[in-house]
Amino acid sequence: MTEKQDIDNEGQTDHFPFIQGENLELCAPNSKHAELYAKWKNDPIVRRYARNVIPRTLDEQKKRFESKQEKYKDHISFEIWHKKDKKPIGRIGLGWIDWVNGWANAYIWIGEKYYWGKNVATEATKLLIDYAFNELNLNKLHGGVAIENIGSWSVAEKLGFVLEGIEREEMYVDGKYLDNKTFCLLKEDWLKRKNNKN
């Protein structure tokens, strides 16, 4: 089982860990999992607060794997891999990377609902934060969360994100306008927190 999962039918390596965590790995997205990613994006419950309001086709999803010309990405995404269960369970990444001003939006979705409420989002986000500050040299991360999406903003608070404010009627979900809690994490505060813990 262990070896098999890493090898595809043609005997090629098929698992690309990029960041190692305790229970999770953040891996390069795998085009062979496009179907799974598309399933998550269209899932009525998963997409609710992720604001995927338009159906996504598998072809669109596949197109995302085509290599781009640009030298600097403004979007970096990972597959979240569950080490013990040996399978991808969601996506995480940085969108809207602003290299000049030094910030990005952090986003996450756990596509496999079985893993909701099991702390995987907290661990994955922690790995992403370290990557953003210590490898990419960003100064600040943003996280926007619908006010009713309690699971998500409790993760943000647990990791030291600070509430910047509330955006009124920011998004339209299930027939009504919802307020949005806007969180941020500055690198200096993240480092302070880490030092205090050590």
């Binding site: 910030w103 910047e164 009124r168 306008y177 500055l186």
Partner: protein, 190 residues
């Protein structure tokens, strides 16, 4: 050489200014504003833009519904373009957008033209585009821009800490917004 008389094609009429569609004959002027050190500091154009790149911004696009709307600000008495304004990041599902405005001709600063332009765009956004919310993002040191949205009854919504890198340091940014219902109740009082 015959001087061609400047043309104005008003789309929204104001008192001192009109808002017109972008005019490709004025691309050089737009490019000058975008590169000007004084202007771009708070407008956050961090990279030089050449005329061809700016021209490309105004080429007809494939998409049928736009996520950006651009107006030239035309000075009625002086018959010339003095800046631009409009809406970006229009999210049709959430019915929200971000307002932007820029007076490129510095002789026209401090005369209330940006405030009037913003008033026209907000009215257009709510009355014609059926938006629910209009936002404005402003860098904290840019006080004159804050006054423009405050005069238009926007409310302060967020202070984004150390959001923007200007002149060698990270400074705060502010987010202001006005909701359709707030704008309507102010209209009724008037």
């Amino acid at each position: 050489m015959v001087e061609s008389k400047p043309r104005s094609v008003p789309f929204l009429e104001g008192i001192n200014i009109d808002l017109c569609p972008p005019n490709t004959e004025h691309i050089n002027l737009y490019t000058k504003w975008m590169n000007s050190p004084q202007i771009r500091k708070y407008a956050r154009y961090e990279f030089p833009q050449n005329v061809e790149e700016v021209k490309k911004m105004f080429e007809p696009k494939q998409e049928r519904v736009s996520s950006e709307i651009f107006f030239e600000i035309w000075h009625r008495d002086d018959e010339k373009p003095i800046g631009y304004t409009g809406l970006i990041r229009i999210r049709w599902f959430d019915r929200s957008a971000f307002l932007f405005y820029l007076i490129g001709e510095t002789d026209y600063w401090g005369k209330g033209h940006a405030t009037e332009a913003a008033r026209l765009v907000v009215e257009y956004g709510f009355n014609e585009l059926n938006l629910n919310k209009i936002n404005a993002g402003i860098f904290a040191p840019n006080r004159s821009s804050v006054r423009v949205v405050e005069k238009n009854d926007f409310k302060h919504e967020l202070t984004l800490k150390k959001e923007i890198y200007i002149d060698g340091e990270h400074v705060d940014a502010l987010k202001y917004s006005i909701l359709r219902k707030e704008w309507q109740s102010i209209k009724c009082e008037e």
